[in-house]
Amino acid sequence: MDNIAGSKPTLTWAVHISVVALVLLWLFPTIGLFVSSFRTADQISSSGWWKALFPTEQNMTLRTAAPETQVQEGDLWVIEGNLFEEENSDATIATWGTSSRDLSAYQPGDTAEDDGMRLTVEADGAYRLTSGTEMEGRRGERVFVVAETPPDFTLANYRQVLLSGDSTDSMSKAFFNTLTVTIPATIIPIVIAAFAAYALAWMDFPGRALLIAFVVGLLVVPLQLALIPLLKLHLGIGIGKGYLGTWLAHTGFGLPLAIYLLRNYMVGLPRDIIENARVDGATDFQIFTKIILPLSFPALASFAIFQFLWTWNDLLVAKVFLIDATGQTTVMTNQIVELLGTRGGNWEILATAAFVSIAMPLLVFFAMQKYLVRGLLAGSVK
């Protein structure tokens, strides 16, 4: 396959360029969110995030200090200082002028002469204004500059979202709630499914084929169907809305995939090992815990990642089974949807909150991608 591309350099280049384009197109949205989370509200609303990566040019009107600060040096009256004094910025001056019509009249370091006054402005905003006669008036001279501001990023949004404890913006509580939902909802189905998968893979009993078909069928049942009946059930038996019901629901909804993935994997394990162990007198329970489980680690890991991503990113189950009127048990996805409502225009908070919620899945994704891909292949390719 590669040799076709190799024989035609132009085609190879076309492939490289198209892949670069494709990757950039796919990354662009996420990077936008990431960059925006480090910008202030003003910056976000005044320019597109893609401009934040480069220095921005800005036309500014600045003033020298007032004549009352002048000092006499020999026969000159002098005012010295920095044009950016009040702005406190790290901008640099590209060009400047003494008239609003010509901003590029002088370069930094040049000296302008006008009515016997001489003005020198440096790139960092330092200036020296001298005059042969005493300067008058109450306000300083105006200087028109084109200033270049370097990219400027801030962690203030993360402080606001993670540490402030602000009741609408804070994600820290939602973060821990999400964690509380996710971990039991990932581990418990694995344990239950592993035993069932072993029985379906290696134990012989009537109705096994039917049960496997049953699991495959349940694999695609939309969980929308389960919402009302289960909510009714939970309210009926007194669990109500809360973590317990959510863990149970996630367990139930995750089981078909777990059983299906694990069974497919276990069936592929070498028959010899298991039969030798049987001959040596091992019970099914021992075979399962001592042989099958350790060998099935890749499949267990695959499912664990699926279930983790799914429960972490879930909104529907949490909304139906977990979040009650008090809102104490809100999860991050729900918190973000609420922020979209209350703070639809505040991109700095939204972007940061969204990034906090997707950081963990991204971490898991990049760390354990191998298992995720394996699981996908086992789960869909037949």
Partner: protein
């Protein structure tokens, strides 16, 4: 109790309980019920082995039955009943035949949702699979293909809600004559000079803007599966085509694609299932306003906003009906494989 602590206790009880159940029930079976000793040892071992699979299966079957099978039946029942509050304050479920379905089919919002869902069903699986195939084919031929794949695959890890925020920023529109911070409008305004457009409120087309979000997420999935399938193609078929003078496009469309047709169908149906249940993206971005309603969101509104369990269940049954062909097909495939 603090929820985190409760979570920890749940893990311990859940996992410990499961293990204890499996161990104790096995012990009980082997030692008490059918001990493998005495005059009937042989018969007892056989009996124990007949029962054991069901011990292993019981928790899973119980959970599956209660959390997936029972709701299907119960939803059918609910969709045929009406919740009535009686004079003494108790609620009863009155059997009303198909009144809920009739009521639903009179609702224009329902037909809007049906129409949009059909649009989604056509567009999203097709484009995701096409982009996935393209990405798989291209990345397979270059040395940094795995890095590229990993980056295109990344949106899979992002929640639908997170993706909704990401894309809302892209579709954002500011008042005319101010700097546009949404990239689509920034390009549109600088190219045409027109006023910026609130993209998510443009009827009909806004559906496609929502679909792009799901395509962006699902392309990585299609790519990973199809890339594995492409690698499984026997080298000889491609080499024979080269010898016969086929150009790269012919090789791709006439040699490779037919050989992975089965995988393409699997990818297509898997994405179709996701599309049928799509809820979060619409809920977070438009909540079905401006003509973007879809079935799952319609159902959510009926259940939790209008609080009409009858119509809500009826619309859930519509989703179930749409899924059923895939369900049957999957089950038949699985059974054929086992033979």
């Amino acid at each position: 109790m603090h929820p985190a602590l409760a979570g920890l206790v749940t893990i311990v009880i859940g996992v410990g309980g499961c293990l204890a159940y499996f161990w104790l029930s096995n012990q009980f079976l082997d030692k008490v019920l059918f001990p493998a000793k005495g005059p009937q040892a042989g018969r007892n071992i056989n009996r124990a082995n007949q029962i054991r699979p069901w011990l292993f299966l019981f928790p899973a079957l119980f959970a599956l039955g209660l959390y997936l099978a029972y709701p299907v039946v119960e939803t059918i029942r609910l969709s045929l009943t009406e919740r009535v509050t009686q004079a003494d304050g108790t609620t009863v479920y009155e059997f009303v035949w198909f009144a809920n379905y009739v009521q639903m089919s009179a609702d224009p919002k329902f037909w809007e949702a049906m129409f949009n869902n059909m649009l989604w069903l056509i567009v999203v699986p097709a484009l995701s699979t096409a982009f996935g195939l393209l990405a798989a084919q291209l990345t397979d031929r270059i040395w940094w293909g795995n890095v590229a794949k990993s980056l295109i695959f990344m949106p899979m890890a992002i929640s639908f809600v997170g993706a909704a925020v990401i894309w809302k920023l892209i579709y954002d529109a500011r008042p005319p004559d101010t700097n546009q911070i949404g990239v689509v409008n920034a390009i549109y305004v600088s190219l045409t000079g027109n006023d910026p457009v609130q993209l998510l409120t443009v009827p009909f087309w806004n559906n496609f803007f929502l679909m792009i979000v799901l395509i962006w997420i699902q392309t990585g999935f299609a790519m990973v599966i199809l890339s594995a399938a492409l690698r499984g193609i026997p080298e000889e078929t491609v080499e024979a085509a080269i010898v016969d003078g086929a150009n790269p496009f012919q090789i791709f469309f006439k040699i490779k694609v037919p050989q992975i047709a089965g995988t393409i169908v699997v990818v297509w149906t898997t994405i179709t299932l996701v599309v049928l249940k799509i809820f979060d993206i619409v809920f977070a971005m438009t909540n079905g306003q401006w003509g973007t309603q879809v079935l799952a969101n319609y159902m959510f509104n009926q259940l939790f906003v209008a609080r009409d369990w009858g119509v809500g269940s009826a619309s859930a049954m519509v989703i179930m009906l749409l899924v059923t062909p895939i369900l049957v097909w999957n089950v038949r495939n699985a059974r054929r494989e086992m033979r």
